[in-house]
């Protein structure tokens, strides 16, 4: 508690979440987000670098006497990519990651060409639409807010496209925006590191923070990053479904009820149990997320990396996943950070 007044408070955490969430960073194009996250980490260590798309930062002296922990969250967010440009200057696009095309009509996007050019996803007026149909995968066209010449000069095939929906603050510390999955996870890890107050060598673990690329395309960044890091214990911090109208309560956590601790056959039960026990013993709100196989998070990669590592998934509950209006509660992010920091200090799991 010695440095408490110097530590990141909830308002600063919210600002950090928003700062990271609003950065570009569609899968495969995470450079801006990576640079931002690296600069955030350089406040805590001088050993931060970007390697093959992943941000990697080491903390504490690694030795055979201490287990090595990997803290991971993914950099990338879902988006689209330019696949062709019509003669009239419309941009045809395909999805990157799992997107809900029901929300596409007249959505505002940013095309990251040689410069950023705004666009609107084309939609037919009601009288030309077939009843209650949703646009097909091969019908995604974007209307750039620009003229034909500029479009052909500035936009190329393969340029990335993100939803242009910067974060805003809702009531009760909740945040709404397009890039919260998994930027709130990144913020939770930074917050956890922040709360260690610079004391890394005295911890029972050495650890590496990785902000990994291309999770939405099949945990690819996690796969190559973990190979180099070769951790003994891996903690994947991601988001999971928070209950909202239309969702099944049996399959969801709830906002403001704390970190969702993952339990799954593919995760290390002892590791999950440590988090549960610690939360219970210290009256830290938490929730359980039970899965019946793998998790769909980077933990699936970490657990089978090289000769394997004990892995757990900690999830921040999030509503309206993969839409431009995702919602999280800053308190959940903070509670997740608290669990991570406590784990690093305890050293119970070997």
């Amino acid at each position: 508690m010695e440095n408490e007044e110097n530590q990141m408070n909830r308002k600063e955490l919210a600002e950090l979440i928003i700062r990271i969430a609003d950065s570009e960073g569609v899968s495969g194009n995470e450079t801006n987000t990576a640079l931002l996250c690296k600069s955030e980490l350089l406040r805590y260590t001088d050993k931060a670098e970007i390697k093959n798309g992943n941000v990697i930062a080491h903390f504490g002296e690694r030795s055979d006497k201490k287990p090595h922990v990997l803290l991971d969250a993914h950099l990338d967010r879902v988006g689209m990519i330019v696949t062709s440009i019509t003669e009239e200057g419309f941009v045809k696009a395909d999805c990157i990651g799992g997107l809900d095309r029901r929300i596409f009509p007249a959505q505002r996007v940013m095309i990251h060409g040689r410069e950023n050019i705004e666009g609107v996803i084309c939609t037919l007026p009601p009288h030309l639409k077939k009843d209650s149909s949703v646009m097909e995968k091969d019908q995604i066209f974007i209307d750039p807010i620009s003229d034909r010449e500029t479009v052909s000069e500035k936009i190329s095939l393969g340029d990335f496209i993100s939803f242009d929906s910067p974060c805003t603050e809702l009531l009760n510390g909740r945040i709404c925006g397009a890039g919260l999955d998994d930027r709130c996870g990144i913020a939770a890890i930074i917050k956890a590191v922040d709360s260690l107050g610079g004391e890394y060598d005295s911890l029972p673990y050495s650890f590496t923070v990785m902000f990994s690329s291309q999770e939405e395309l099949g945990e690819r960044g996690a796969c190559i990053g973990a190979f180099d890091i070769d951790p003994d214990i891996s903690i994947a911090v991601d988001v999971s479904f928070a209950l909202c109208g239309g969702e099944d309560p049996k399959k969801c956590g709830e906002l403001a009820k704390g970190c969702m601790i993952g339990i799954a056959p593919s995760l290390d039960r002892g590791l999950s149990q440590w988090f549960i026990n610690h939360a219970k013993a210290n009256d830290i709100p938490y929730q359980l997320e039970v899965m019946n196989g793998t998790t769909g998070t980077n933990a699936d990669r970490f657990s089978v990396n090289k000769r394997g590592s004990k892995a757990v998934t900690l999830s921040i509950p999030l509503r309206y996943m993969h839409t431009p209006a995702e919602v999280i509660d800053t308190a959940d992010c903070e509670l997740t950070a608290e669990l991570i920091a406590a784990f690093l200090k305890a050293g119970d799991v070997k």
Partner: protein, 349 residues
């Protein structure tokens, strides 16, 4: 005939007007902006339904009484219920499609922000993914903890608005509410520029989007011989639509219709628009689909009948958060409507 177009003023007015929130029935802030802008240039009165009737004094009396009209209201959302979990049920005000609302941020009239969420795509069946949303299933999440918490911030009947901001680049403008703030902006510019040599009545009307209601009362009040309705109209010149289905095309000039679902326009005025556009060397087009309608529907059958014409800016994605227009079409709409007004007011029609 050459017409001076103050493009800077037109752009400035449009941006200011579009940024104001004013759905049908809540046009107050738009009305205030209009009265503040032209209050000292016109003799203004406000009707019981909130329309502004602005009597402009030109240098000469007009041969015929002309009413130039645009509507102040935009489409929006209205809160119809508050759920136990603190979310707000909503319905549309005017013709908004649910798929243009889902998955984006909105601003409540009190200024607080909200998300119109959707359950995660991961948890939907293939069938559900292919079914367009309906307003029934939509709600606004303002971050409230429960019903009581939400009730501190929101009341039933509160409006909510699109939040997409305003963009202008390379001759293209993107904003909410271009329908029909474009018409309002053109009228304000005509007044501020003293563009008309004759007396003229300008009406800024309410409740167009829910059934041409303000215009009906304003037309009765103004009792004109002629009416010129300034609008934004659906353009579908996008991929997946071709030929006549495009209705009209951005960059091809103002749209003057001969017929829509509400009006058979005065044929002489329609022909006049064609001739004036030719004389001025500006583009002009007509719609290739008989669809939609505007305040002309109410105005042309007001009292004993009003000879009516509508000049519209072609607009993609009308009634969505992201209307898109071409600047030149907007400027030319100003020029063409001004030229028509002069012809009518001078008694040459």
């Amino acid at each position: 005939m050459s017409i001076k177009i103050n493009k800077e003023l037109l752009c400035e007015l449009l941006e200011k007007l579009c940024k104001i929130d004013g759905a049908s029935g809540q046009e107050d802030k738009v009305r205030k902006f209009i009265l503040d802008t032209i209050g000292d240039k016109c003799d203004c009165r406000v009707t019981p339904l909130g329309c502004v009737i602005a009597e402009y004094k030109g240098k000469k009396p007009a041969a015929k009484k002309l009413m130039i009209s645009a509507h102040m209201d935009e489409v929006g959302l209205i809160v119809t219920g508050i759920n136990a979990d603190g979310t707000l049920n909503i319905n549309c005000v005017g013709g908004v499609e649910a798929d243009a609302v889902i998955g984006r941020q909105v601003r409540l009239e009190s200024g607080i922000m909200g998300a119109v969420g959707s359950r995660a795509v991961h948890n939907m069946t293939e069938e559900q993914r292919k079914t367009a949303p309906k307003f029934d299933g939509l709600y606004i999440d303002i971050g409230a903890l429960d019903k009581a918490d939400a009730e501190k911030q929101v009341s039933l009947g509160d409006y909510a608005y699109f939040t997409c901001g305003y963009a202008q680049r390379d001759g293209i403008i993107r904003s909410k509410a271009i329908d029909d703030r474009a018409g309002c902006a053109i009228m304000l510019a005509m007044i501020l520029e003293n563009a008309l040599p004759y007396d003229c009545t300008f009406t800024f009307v309410t409740q167009e989007e829910i059934g041409l209601r303000g215009a009906r009362t304003a037309a009765f009040d103004a009792a004109p011989d002629f009416a010129l309705v300034l609008e934004a109209t659906t353009a579908a010149d996008i991929p997946l639509s071709e030929g006549d289905k495009r209705c009209c095309v951005l960059g091809e000039g103002p749209v003057v219709s001969y017929m829509d679902r509400s009006t058979l326009y005065d044929r002489e005025l329609y022909r006049l628009s064609v001739k004036l556009a030719e004389d001025m060397g500006i583009k002009r087009q007509t719609k290739t689909v008989i669809a939609g309608g505007n305040d002309s529907g109410a105005i042309h059958i007001s009292r004993g009948g009003v000879r009516t014409c509508a000049v519209s800016v072609p607009c993609r994605y009308l009634h969505t958060p992201c209307c898109v227009i071409n600047e030149e079409d907007y400027f030319d709409s100003y020029a063409l409507s001004l030229a028509m007004a002069v012809e009518i007011l001078s008694g040459r029609v």
